[in-house]
Symmetry: C2
């Protein structure tokens, strides 16, 4: 029975999810993945955050790049370049199998939820992986140069354009995935964990789905977020750059403000020197930098302890 629900984006979130997966009993963890980064490329349906979490839990992720698979080959991309195809988004040969299989099953009318679940079972992953929605939601980044589809902003333009906001195209017509709703509205959860992912582009699309924020508050399980910012720096990715461009304080206080009363607790790094507000979520300290699997398991354990300590208060 699922007791712990995490909300996650890609690389940063997947690290904590791995730690949780490794210390929890099989079948007790479910991760809801952002699908706002999903896109169609070369005719293939690509779900980067689902894939990163899937590859990470299956121990086949490329931990150096933070995306794609380990022991990958690149013959396809080289041949595509020779044919004059689009090569700005790198697709490894093994990675491609997942996109081709997902696209094929979507074309047959299967839901992204079912496809994701079939794949994680094939890869012998004990934890559930759930797309935030079975309907397409597409993050668009508002920049000074105009509105960019997410992967164009993120990969093609390498996060260079200054950001002044986000749109989640399709969000009004989307519903939380059935299993996500079921878990959120059930009474079995002992904690809801918001991973140290980018709040704006990884977590906000999940929270923007109709009814999710309310269900999160109503669930009763403590909601614990882990700050992705340590001393004004993001561990990876454009979180800090975005906060500055959006005019937010670039520190854990900015993260606390961003999530506000949606969360019961914010976990910040021991070394973090941000001046954190007295109001808002309770602040806990932990070692949030995760390099080794031991780091990931340790932080996972800390977060679960924090959630447990909050359990009766919420």
């Amino acid at each position: 029975m699922i007791e712990i629900l995490t909300l996650s984006g890609g690389i940063g979130g997947a690290k904590l999810v791995l730690g949780l997966d490794r210390i929890l009993s099989p079948g007790t963890l479910a991760t809801v993945c952002n699908t706002g980064d999903d896109f169609e490329h070369l005719g293939l349906s690509i779900s980067p955050d689902i894939d990163t979490v899937t590859y990470t839990l299956a121990s086949i992720a490329n931990t150096k790049t933070g995306w794609g698979r380990a022991n990958e080959t690149w013959t396809f991309m080289a041949a595509l370049a020779d044919l004059g195809g689009e090569t700005w988004f790198q697709l490894g040969d093994a990675d491609l199998a997942l996109h081709v299989e997902r696209t094929r099953q979507l074309a047959l009318g299967e839901s992204l939820s079912d496809i994701t679940d079939i794949i994680r079972r094939r890869l012998v992953i004990g934890s559930e992986i759930i797309p935030m929605s079975d309907q397409p939601v597409r993050t668009r980044v508002k920049t000074r140069d105009g509105i960019l589809p997410f992967q164009h902003y993120f990969v093609k333009h390498r996060c260079c354009p200054a950001v002044n906001g986000f749109e989640f195209d399709g969000i009004d017509l989307a519903q939380p995935a059935p299993r996500f709703s079921e878990l959120l509205t059930g009474d079995k959860l002992k904690a809801i964990i918001i991973c140290p992912s980018n709040p704006f582009i990884s977590i906000d699309p999940i929270l923007a789905l109709p009814g999710v924020c309310q269900a999160l508050r109503d669930n009763g399980a403590p909601v614990v977020a882990i700050s992705p910012i340590i001393n004004g720096q993001a561990i990876k990715g454009p979180t800090a750059k975005m906060m500055a461009e959006l005019g937010l304080p670039v520190d854990s206080a900015g993260i606390a403000m961003h999530y506000g009363n949606l969360i019961d607790a914010l976990v910040v790094d021991h070394s973090d020197s941000a001046r954190l507000p007295d109001t808002g979520p309770r602040i806990f300290r932990a070692a949030t930098l995760m390099h080794s699997e031991a780091d990931k398991r340790a932080l996972a354990g800390e977060v679960l302890s924090i959630a447990k300590s909050l359990g009766t208060n919420c």
Copy 2:
């Protein structure tokens, strides 16, 4: 200006096309490829005969297998197998780039003719490669076990079921590709060459397109076929097996009967001992087994000489 038009299937035909390509002036050879073998697999549009001719002329074909590319890697197939995907049709990582790119361009509304031409130009192929039609035609093989889609018969069932006929699904609604029609109805061709491909599944779909047989007769250029049978054996593939199952004489005489008065000449191997009919196409002898590129160039030269010798008679 195109002077030589060939009709070809995959491996056997591609050998002669290579020989012709290497001895003719650039821009004077065009090859019309069978598309009856085309199919949709894993959501991808695959055109095996176009691909074999393209890879052969670009010198990147796998000459050992007769399909796919040389120096191929197989990471995609291995990963797909891990995901439980369909693996009965082998797709190499580099080969996949062509299918993904073709599928993408078809989805954008490009014609198979234009896509095929763009690709052969990218691969610096001087000869034209033309799909027989831009509309889908799908060969189905009538067997004792029922009607099978071509690739199921050919790859999945390894040509085992006994054949008793063929259907070319979609043929009535298909038109010869525009460039094919243009060349057939023009007056610039010096020869039309029917490659030593399987008559039933590689050449007949081309000939079955509305108007093609009549245009072939009306064109005025000599039509020369090369027998794919030597002493009752097919060099590769199920031609001899099919002829036996269809109740035809399994020799070059059977090939002569099959093409009948559509061709002006049939080229048979020097060693062939078939008793050839006195009526029907004129019979010429040449070394039709093509192992080396020298063999291919030599046969190409012989066939062009034969066509030239017929030129004024037709």
